[in-house]
Symmetry: C2
DNA sequence: CGATTATTTTAATCTAGATTAAAATTTTTG
DNA sequence: CAAAAATTTTAATCTAGATTAAAATAATCG
């Protein structure tokens, strides 16, 4: 108790620490894997003791769950921003890739890779899966829109979605905070994934 | 003891069971995550008891390690076959994607996603990382070759490699054995990842 | 078939790491 | 500054699941 009664400053402090914790956890999970990361590992990054994490979270499962909620939000916001700003289907796709990657390698990161959804407890699992499916479905609709408006060549939107999402989801696996690499990803990914490899187009 | 002295038939039987075990383990790890998969889960798939696995493997770490060795082999063979058969850089890339995907969704599968390299013991980790780096480097050289022969537009080969590898690595995450989906992946991925989304090319 | 070897199971351990409760410390607030 | 609330630590538990040893079963071979 106390969390509820806290004033502005307290809330902020609490939220800030919790946010730091989630990013520390995401980093651990991405780098060392879920099983390879003990709560002690996560806590150490914050200069805390493992037990301290229980002040912010009920248990490890909830920690993972919250990481995934954050990851889902980042993806969702990126896609919606792209939809709001993009001119046609292809432009929305390129923007989405750009925004999502920017978030992952920028201040919002690290973002957790959703590799352990099955170890979430049923309610959490269903929630994350639902959000995930929704995201995929929306992205596929964007692809269809692009095909309709002629900016994207006819294709299997399900497979194309899987391919692009896969490339995005894998980013946190090899990106570890190098600023110059961050620039490269942001500069190259949108083009690679939307324009392909062929010359002269 | 025994493994060494075994005759042809024995060796075959042993190897067969071990192979089944590795595929069962890969399936578990991909679906339920490493930490979410107990040896009991893996053994159950084979209709065995957890303890039985220790006849084939020293411990869980070695089980993961062997899964990764297999995964690396599949990738390596696919790339080398593509190099042997491809005409130019782009053709090699497309073939590699095709062969690798075919293997992953076909009889060779499931292939483990290498998500838990850090939890391998140092020697194993180094070995897998080395193979992995080598694979990435070779792929980048293919991209360079393609740029040189004009079949691939100039690009950041590191980032392009990361993008394509990411899309491939993610396949086992969403593919769960559906035959018709398998066809689609094989049919679409090479084109999506090498030709991109743009129309008229 | 009997003996030898291969494979699996049963039944204990053993252990890292998650979890908890109570105490200590730090921060905020009036 | 003193009291109250917030945060962290210390010091135990508690537990799932990995691991092991010995026994049981199945397969193979001469």
């Amino acid at each position: 108790m106390g969390k509820r009664l806290a004033q502005q400053t307290e809330e902020t402090r609490f939220q800030l620490q919790k946010g730091r914790m989630l990013r520390a956890a995401a980093r651990c999970f991405n780098e060392k894997g879920y099983s390879g990361s003990s709560l002690r590992d996560v806590a150490n990054i914050l200069g805390l003791t493992d037990a301290a994490l229980y002040y912010y979270v009920r248990n490890k499962e909830e920690l993972v769950y919250l990481c995934y909620v954050r990851a889902a939000e980042v993806g969702r916001e990126s896609l919606h921003r792209a939809i709001a700003e993009g001119r046609d289907g292809l432009d929305i796709v390129a923007r989405y890739i750009r925004y999502h990657v920017e978030a992952m390698v920028g201040e919002r990161g690290p973002v957790a890779i959703m590799s352990e959804i099955p170890s979430l407890k049923p309610e959490h699992r269903e929630e994350i899966l639902a959000v995930s499916r929704e995201h995929g479905a929306l992205f596929e609709r964007i692809l269809e829109q692009g095909i309709a408006d002629g900016s994207i060549a006819p294709c299997d939107v399900r497979m194309t979605g899987n391919a692009i999402m896969g490339a995005l989801n894998w980013v946190p696996k090899w990106f570890h905070g190098d600023a110059s690499v961050a620039q490269q990803v942001v500069a190259e990914f949108p083009h690679i994934l939307s324009a392909g490899l062929r010359p002269d187009n």
